[in-house]
């Protein structure tokens, strides 16, 4: 230990002798790491898997069961009510859920000012399939329409001033509902259950309503809806349940390969039967996409983040080159001292240990500066791309990654120069 402190001291003395080149090296390395890390934060968070143990078991089926004829089209990303019923009519999936999002105004009484809220209109399986934590109460016992809502914790606190509000009444768009459950803090990031239209970057919804109630009360999707026939979107409860008004997202849980295989077969049979019955003319094009692939399938990956990731990687490369260049210069100017130490009997191992102390010191400085720059970078990215703001967060894994990256960069930057300095011909250097 004492030896280690000695090495650190020697490093420090050598830094103090020529502070500018050292400061420049640290600055440039931190700059590269900081800029890279700021963008990597978003890249990492947006591509992270919020349900790693389940994301290959939840599937999003799509079929071309539509009243238009198209023989080389992708199926629509959203389903009609009747198609969801057909796709649900199978015992193969462990669980299945249909959903969409809308918005409304929530208040305790009509005399109060309304609070705009986002509503997820869905079925009870949503909460178990996507592992939504419940703080108080319970979810609906079946898929039937009912005047019951589930609130997020923040919404309950905002409206009632407390979280345990099970049994309380609220007004949503001037209709009375009973609160039957309150969620615990929950924000799946990215929100893979709603990946269409880049909705996966958004906040979790505030109010949860039974699917049938949403249709009965004519809630239209606020994200995407399509009418492929003359269904009147003001008649959601009647025409909307039978016509080609597409607005639902649909997920099935298929735990095993066998289940997946069986469900594919089920979809094929269903579409073939429907075609035979003359309900659509298109060549079948069935898709069953796993949750972990859904964003890519919908083309919702952030091109800007990706492009910038490419560029920041290049920048990091340049900074690494530059820092090693600076560091090489620094070591070469210290070469005489190195040779002298070796002449005085320091072994190569001891010199290498000295370099390790250099690396650690450099890592320390670069981590500090790099984090500072990365923090500024994240703020800047939040400002320029506010849509992605939910993803500008650091977690322990990410910080550890930064530390590892900094350590290896510092090592790289120090390695070649120190090798040059310590393995050069002893004689020649002293003579020079």
């Amino acid at each position: 230990m004492e030896q280690f402190f000695y090495y650190v001291k020697v490093s420090w003395v050598s830094i103090k002798r020529a502070p500018l080149p050292y400061a420049l090296t640290v600055f440039i390395l931190s700059l590269g790491l900081g800029v890279f890390f700021a963008n990597a934060t978003f890249y990492y968070q947006m591509n992270s898997d919020p349900l790693p143990h389940k994301s290959d078991k939840l599937f999003y089926p799509m079929t071309l069961m539509v009243p238009y004829e198209c023989n080389d089209c992708l199926p629509p990303r959203i389903h009609s009510y009747s198609n969801v019923q057909k796709l649900s009519a199978s015992d193969i999936p462990t669980a299945k859920v249909a959903m969409y999002s809308s918005d409304g105004y929530l208040r305790l009484s009509s005399s109060q000012a309304p609070t705009p809220v986002s509503i997820r209109i869905t079925q009870p399986a949503f909460f178990s399939m996507f592992e939504v934590p419940l703080l108080h109460g319970s979810v609906w016992s079946d898929d039937k329409a009912r005047q019951e809502l589930i609130l997020s914790k923040q919404t309950a606190e905002k409206i009632f001033g407390r979280s345990n509000v099970v049994g309380e009444k609220v007004l949503l768009d001037d209709r009375h509902y009973t609160v039957i459950g309150v969620l615990d803090n929950w924000q799946m990031l990215p929100r893979l259950y709603d990946a269409n239209n880049r909705n996966h970057v958004n906040d979790a919804d505030q109010v949860y309503m039974p699917l049938e109630t949403g249709y009965d009360y004519n809630y239209m999707s606020n994200s995407q809806s399509h009418t492929f026939d003359d269904t009147d979107f003001r008649q959601l409860g009647t025409q909307g349940r039978t016509g080609a008004l597409h607005q639902l997202q649909f997920w099935v849980q298929l735990d095993t390969q066998a289940q997946q295989q069986a469900y594919r077969q089920f979809m094929d049979n269903l579409v073939a039967d429907e075609k035979k019955a003359g309900r659509h003319q298109s060549t079948p094009n069935n898709q069953l996409v796993a949750m972990r692939d859904i964003v890519r399938f919908f083309g919702g990956e952030s091109a800007d983040i990706k492009a910038f990731a490419l560029v920041t990687l290049l920048f990091l490369g340049v900074c690494l080159f530059n820092a090693s260049h600076l560091s090489l210069n620094r070591y070469l100017s210290n070469q005489y001292e190195f040779s002298l130490r070796r002449a005085l009997g320091a072994s190569r191992l001891q010199l290498q240990q000295q370099m390790l102390a250099d690396v650690l010191l450099m890592t320390l400085f670069c981590t500090l500066c790099g984090l500072l720059i990365a923090w500024g970078g994240v703020e800047l990215l939040n400002y320029l791309w506010p849509a992605n703001r939910l993803f500008g967060r650091w977690d322990p894994t990410l910080l550890l990654l930064l530390l590892g990256l900094t350590l290896s960069s510092s090592y790289l930057v120090t390695l070649y120069p120190s090798l040059r300095a310590s393995f050069g011909g002893l004689n020649q250097q002293l003579k020079e």
């Binding site: 105004y105 003001r234 560029v311 290049l314 260049h325 100017s333 990215l381 320029l384």
Partner: protein
């Protein structure tokens, strides 16, 4: 100065030179592509929209009660709002619409010539449902036909006639007047000048408009206000209070000029261009630091050599020039590599975002910028190096 000797001296310092070259090349590649993207974004922001962007205001709002979101109360609310806004000084025209122009996407429909569906079908056209003053509110020029003067309900017996923008009319009814002809939805009453509709539509300038009452506004609606240039800001300030006075049961999402709306459309591109710009600046800085430190270190290391050269009759100026040309040579070589790197980066970026191909003059321009920066960075250490006293420098250990 001899190129041959310069090259030799560079070759003697292979690693350092290589590091410098790679770095210069990458800097050039990034600079070139950032400039390209910045130029592209600027072009987008300057594209013709057919609208007087800065002086048209759009209010996006939604009633907070269900009754107000449907007829008949909705019709009454709209009338009261329009009448109130009209009284504001500086308002030239005001209209309601199910959605405003200059957007990413929104309410769209298809349209075709019923006689030739296969060839004329346009899948995604913004479908506007508006009040009669919509055309005045956007300052649209009537090209032919007659603009509908009254709102005809979309769910009634009589079909509400349609107004098309010029390029859409030409697409569906090529080489003839569209006025009076029937489309898949309704007959065409008039053709107006093109304007920017939805970015995600089949074509930006394709728009179809029907003058009709709004059926329901679950997605909110827009008030479009054409203002006197001097009054725009004033009107914007007064609108929130005025509208809440008419009926407090509304949520106002935003009030923007169409110019702001337009800028927001490209905020992602603008953000990326800004970031790349900042990064390019940093890269130039890094390149300058690198040139500086390289020249500085090199000059120190070469003190003796410079002394010898001075003794052999090289003037200060010559030594200075020699040091600069060494950097110029590296920069030129780096720039040459950089052009290749820029092309490669261009290809890579183009695979994730839309990016134009490189023009020949851009790398040239950036190489010049790089050269100037490197020269500036080398200047000071080179000056120091030339002031080395030859008498001391030629003294050996």
């Amino acid at each position: 100065m001899s190129l041959h000797l310069l090259l030799k001296s560079l070759l003697r310092r292979k690693v350092v030179t290589l590091l410098l070259l790679v770095q210069l090349a990458l800097t050039l590649a990034l600079l070139v592509n950032s400039l390209l993207l910045a130029g592209q974004t600027r072009d987008k922001l300057n594209e013709p929209t057919g609208l007087d962007l800065p002086h048209i205001l759009q209010v996006q709002l939604k009633p907070t009660t269900t009754d107000l979101r449907a007829q008949p109360l909705l019709g009454d609310l709209l009338e009261r709002q329009l009448a109130a806004v009209r009284t504001l000084p500086g308002v030239k025209a005001v209209a309601y619409a199910n959605q405003g122009p200059v957007r990413q996407g929104g309410n769209q429909g298809n349209l075709y010539d019923p006689n030739d569906e296969a060839r004329t079908n346009v899948p995604s056209i913004p479908a506007y449902i508006v009040s009669p003053d919509f055309f005045a509110a956007l300052g649209l020029k009537l090209l032919e036909g007659q603009l509908p003067q009254t709102a005809v309900p979309l769910d009634g017996e009589v079909r509400s006639p349609m107004v098309l923008t010029r390029s859409l009319a030409e697409k569906i009814f090529p080489n003839r007047s569209a006025v009076g002809l029937d489309t898949s939805y309704a007959p065409v009453a008039a053709v107006v000048e093109d304007f920017f509709g939805h970015l995600m539509a089949t074509e930006i300038m394709y728009n179809r408009i029907q003058v009709a009452p709004l059926l329901g506004v679950d997605w909110g609606y827009a008030l479009l206000i054409n203002t006197e240039p001097s009054a725009t800001e004033n009107i914007r300030q007064q609108l929130p209070d005025l509208l809440r006075q008419i009926d407090p049961n509304i949520e106002i999402f935003y009030i923007r000029t169409l110019k702001e709306q337009h800028q927001r459309l490209y905020s992602n591109e603008f953000g990326l261009a800004t970031l790349l710009g900042i990064l390019s600046g940093l890269m130039l800085l890094v390149a300058m630091v690198s040139s500086y430190s390289n020249a500085h270190f090199h000059a120190l290391k070469q003190q003796q050599e410079i002394g010898i050269k001075r003794a052999l009759g090289a003037s200060k100026q010559l030594i200075f020039l020699e040091l600069l040309s060494e950097n110029w040579l590296t920069t030129a070589l780096g720039a040459l590599l950089g052009v290749a790197a820029a092309l490669a980066l261009n290809k890579m970026l183009a695979s994730v975002i839309s990016l134009n191909a490189l023009s020949w003059w851009l790398p040239l321009l950036v190489s010049l910028v790089l050269l100037v920066c490197v020269t500036v960075a080398t200047w000071y250490p080179a000056r120091i190096a030339t002031s080395v006293s030859p008498a001391t420098a030629t003294k050996t250990l």
